[in-house]
């Protein structure tokens, strides 16, 4: 089972994290948590998670996403999602998290949507 790889780049003043692999209980969730922890501790972070190469996420991964979203928001920041694969999209619909996250298909649109 492949794990999660994360590459970070900056576009304008937004940190874009390109995710590839699986976000599941154990290593994948832990890696995501560690990568997002820094943003949950800084004021007004702007974070865009690119899911185009994430084929699989489980309830543990969803929990990490929600936890990071709430922590970043508490610091006045924003976390948005980009290019969900169909499986991830379905899970966000089932769990109603589609109503929580701001989700975009186009990176430029997503960057422009940050306040």
């Amino acid at each position: 089972m492949n794990t999660l790889h994360i590459q970070t780049r900056q576009v304008d003043e937004v940190d874009v994290l390109d995710l590839a692999g699986r976000i599941t209980l154990g290593e994948g969730s832990l890696r995501l948590r560690e990568s997002l922890q820094v943003y949950s501790q800084q004021p007004r972070a702007r974070v865009l998670l690119n899911f185009s190469e994430v084929q699989y996420i489980d309830s543990s991964g969803l929990g990490e996403l929600v936890s990071a979203f709430a922590a970043i928001r508490r610091q006045g920041g924003e976390l948005k999602l980009l290019r969900l694969t169909r499986k991830v999209h379905d899970l966000l619909q089932i769990t109603k998290l589609y109503t929580v996250f701001d989700i975009h298909e186009d990176e430029a649109d997503a960057i422009a949507a940050f306040v």
Binding site: M1, T24, L25, G26, D58, S59, S60, L62, G63, E64, V66, S67, F69, A70, K87, D90, L91, Q93, I94, T95, K96, L97, T99, V100
Partner: protein, 152 residues
């Protein structure tokens, strides 16, 4: 393709067992004739219930096992998952779809399993909790494959 099949696995209460259970579920779903989406749904349901059994039921106790049982009938793929924990009452779990619970970190595993399988039942046993899940095989009487929208 066989029309009736049965296999039992006894899993250790550790994280690696979750991936093993998921892989085995993929194989059985393939044998049952499910398409890629259907196989994903079965495997994810098994993954989530096995996580519950290992983490919450057995609390990662190395002395305890999770029994995972697959049964293929002409009409259904049936999966039993039994832990050796102190019991679990799903009716006492907070609703993960309630607005006040949407930002909770945990509690979505059972919701996903319910959405992806046709039926799921929890049964307390003298030695833990037993979960029975089933999904209609493609070409039987139900919708079978996973192209239809999952039930939330």
């Amino acid at each position: 393709m066989v029309h009736s099949y049965h296999e039992v696995l006894r899993l250790e209460s550790r994280l690696e067992s979750v991936d093993r259970a998921q892989s085995q579920a993929q194989l059985f779903a393939l044998e049952a004739g499910f398409d890629e989406t259907g196989r994903h749904q079965v495997a994810m349901a098994v993954r989530e219930i096995v996580i519950n059994a290992i983490a919450h039921g057995n609390a990662y106790d190395p002395a305890k096992r999770v029994k995972l049982e697959f049964e293929l009938t002409p009409a259904e793929l049936i999966i039993f998952i039994q832990d050796e924990g102190s019991g679990f009452d799903p009716s006492h779990q907070p609703d993960p779809l309630s607005p006040e619970n949407l930002l909770r970190q945990s509690g979505r595993g059972m919701l996903l399993a319910r959405a992806f399988m046709d039926q799921i039942d929890f049964q307390p046993t003298p030695h833990g909790t037993s979960v029975r899940m089933c999904k209609h095989r493609p070409g039987s009487n139900g919708q079978g494959n996973g192209d239809a929208a999952p039930r939330a």
